[in-house]
């Protein structure tokens, strides 16, 4: 399998593993954490601001975007998440996580997501999807009451489309997708996140 950008060398001997947070306010955070651990990361379930600091990367998982948005507000998580992103450390937002990252919510991506864009649960589906940057093999993508990107700024790179709508995008260090890579077991987007985190860590380590 061609892994494209993922051909980054593994962490050097003795290097501490990447510390990747999974926002655990609500949603399928456990599936993400398991996938990250299988890739060699130290996965942290983050429910409070303290657990969101000092992370190499952050996953905002699928769940109910209204519930997650209210939890972020209730628990005062927005400053810590914005600080993480502002430092150039990568973020992966899936489904509800894509919505939470958009311009109307945390503002981590220059794009606006449309909730439940594909319809109710009866319209939910899975399909093989080609995604730029993770190699030519399609990824099995599971869309659950999924959003799509309704509109985005020029610097946003569209990585994949379905029925003409952007369903995976990258804006700087933030990757957002409409679907659930964690439900079908293909770890390539998580590996991409970790490769981005490794690069970000190296940049930070360069002496000024």
């Amino acid at each position: 399998m061609d892994r494209g950008e993922l051909a980054a060398p593994p962490a050097r001997e003795g290097e501490r593993p990447l510390r990747v947070g999974v926002l655990a306010s609500q949603g399928d955070f456990a599936a993400h954490a398991e996938m990250l651990r299988e890739l060699g990361a130290e996965a942290v379930e983050a429910r409070g601001p303290a657990e969101l600091s000092e992370l190499d990367a952050l996953v905002i998982p699928g769940g109910e975007s209204t519930t997650i948005t209210k939890a972020i507000e209730r628990d005062g998580l927005a400053p810590a998440i914005r600080e993480h992103a502002a430092a150039g450390r990568p973020v992966l937002g899936t489904c509800a996580g894509m919505i939470v990252c958009d311009r109307d919510h945390l503002g981590l991506i220059d794009a606006r997501a449309r909730r439940n864009a594909f319809g109710r649960q009866l319209a939910s589906f899975e399909t093989d999807l080609e995604i730029a940057g993770i190699g030519p093999d399609p990824l099995r993508a599971v869309f659950i009451r999924a959003p799509w990107i309704e509109e985005h700024g020029e610097r946003v790179e569209v990585l994949a489309r379905h029925q003409g709508h952007p369903v995976a995008i990258r804006d700087g260090a933030v990757v957002a997708c409409s679907f659930h890579p964690e439900l079908a077991g293909d770890p390539r987007l998580h590996a991409l996140l970790m490769a981005m985190a490794t690069s970000a860590r190296k940049r930070e380590e360069v002496p000024r």
């Binding site: 655990a24 109910e64 489904c95 009866l122 939910s124 899975e126 399909t127 599971v142």
Partner: protein, 295 residues
């Protein structure tokens, strides 16, 4: 090619509800309040279980108009209940495009011998269970989500605790068996061998496990999560309390922060009166236990 209604897609929505609270609502206003309080989904029904219990008579699927009004009122998933074995009620709910059907013991059963063939539907189903065998039978029939039954409408957590311990403990015991012991276990559990083998190998159900039936306080909600539930259904506990809005928020907060006693303490303060609650022994003596329906 895009495929709809695969088991992964059906289960997928339940995966997204994890760590959240699904609230029973009987009006669009209550649905809006539940969404505003942070519910991950609402269960649209005509009467909450406490009222079904009080009123007696036959409890059936809700009026489609009422379900549609609730669907129009909120953007979160809407579930609705069908009677056990009443596959036409389930067909109607699928036609209404509800997001999940609860084949529920809270309604009066329509079939004393058979449950709905849930594989035959595109809409996913959640079913109740009092023990592991019951859970695995429902999964064998196609349920994509399991909830412990508890005793609905009582505001008493004791049965939910019993059922969660039965299910989670049963899973743990299965994982200790040798391969040649699994057919005997399947026979004892009266469950399909393939599902038994899957659970023994994975150490968990192949679908999410939620808790229902008796949650009335934030501490109840945190208790079920610490016992292994992956989310909570709250029926009468919210709208039969004196301050539904605050209690709903508090139960959502305690479900997220179940392992943090300080957060559960903060969520528990100044909520007003919880629902009154019923003694289970008295209901049992009167033959009023809903959990014994459709096992």
């Amino acid at each position: 090619m895009a495929e709809r209604a695969t088991f992964r897609v059906k289960r997928g929505l339940a995966e997204m509800l994890k760590g959240g609270v699904i609230m029973d609502v009987v009006t669009p206003e209550q649905a809006g309040l539940a969404e505003e309080a942070g519910a991950v989904a609402v269960m649209a029904l005509e009467r909450v279980p406490a009222d079904i219990r009080r009123d007696g008579g036959v409890a059936r699927m809700s009026d489609p108009t009422m379900i549609k009004e609730i669907q129009a009122a909120v953007s979160i998933p809407v579930m609705a209940k069908a009677r056990i074995g009443h596959f036409v009620e389930a067909q109607v709910l699928q036609a209404l495009e509800v997001d999940y059907v609860d084949e529920s013991e809270v309604l009066t059963p329509a079939d004393e011998a058979n449950h709905i063939d849930k594989h035959a539907f595109e809409v996913p189903f959640v079913c109740g269970a009092t023990n592991l065998g019951e859970a695995l039978r429902r999964i064998g029939e196609g349920a994509a989500m399991i909830r412990s039954k508890g005793e609905a409408g009582t505001g008493n957590i004791v049965e939910a605790v019993r059922h969660l311990r039965e299910i989670v403990g049963g899973i743990r015991r299965l994982t200790t068996l040798r391969a040649e012991e699994l057919p005997g276990a399947a026979k004892d559990l009266r469950a399909p061998i393939d599902v038994v083998e899957e659970v023994a190998g994975a150490g968990w159900l192949p679908v999410p496990l939620f808790c229902a039936g008796g949650i009335a306080t934030p501490a109840d909600a945190a208790l079920t999560i610490q016992l292994g539930a992956e989310g909570n259904f709250v029926g009468s506990g919210i709208f039969k309390s004196s301050d539904p809005e605050r209690r709903a928020r508090a139960i959502v907060e305690a479900t997220t922060h179940a392992a943090d006693p300080e957060r559960v303490a903060a969520a528990s303060a100044d909520l007003g009166e919880p629902m009154r609650g019923d003694d289970i022994a008295q209901l049992a003596a009167e033959g009023e236990l809903l959990q014994q329906r459709g096992i």
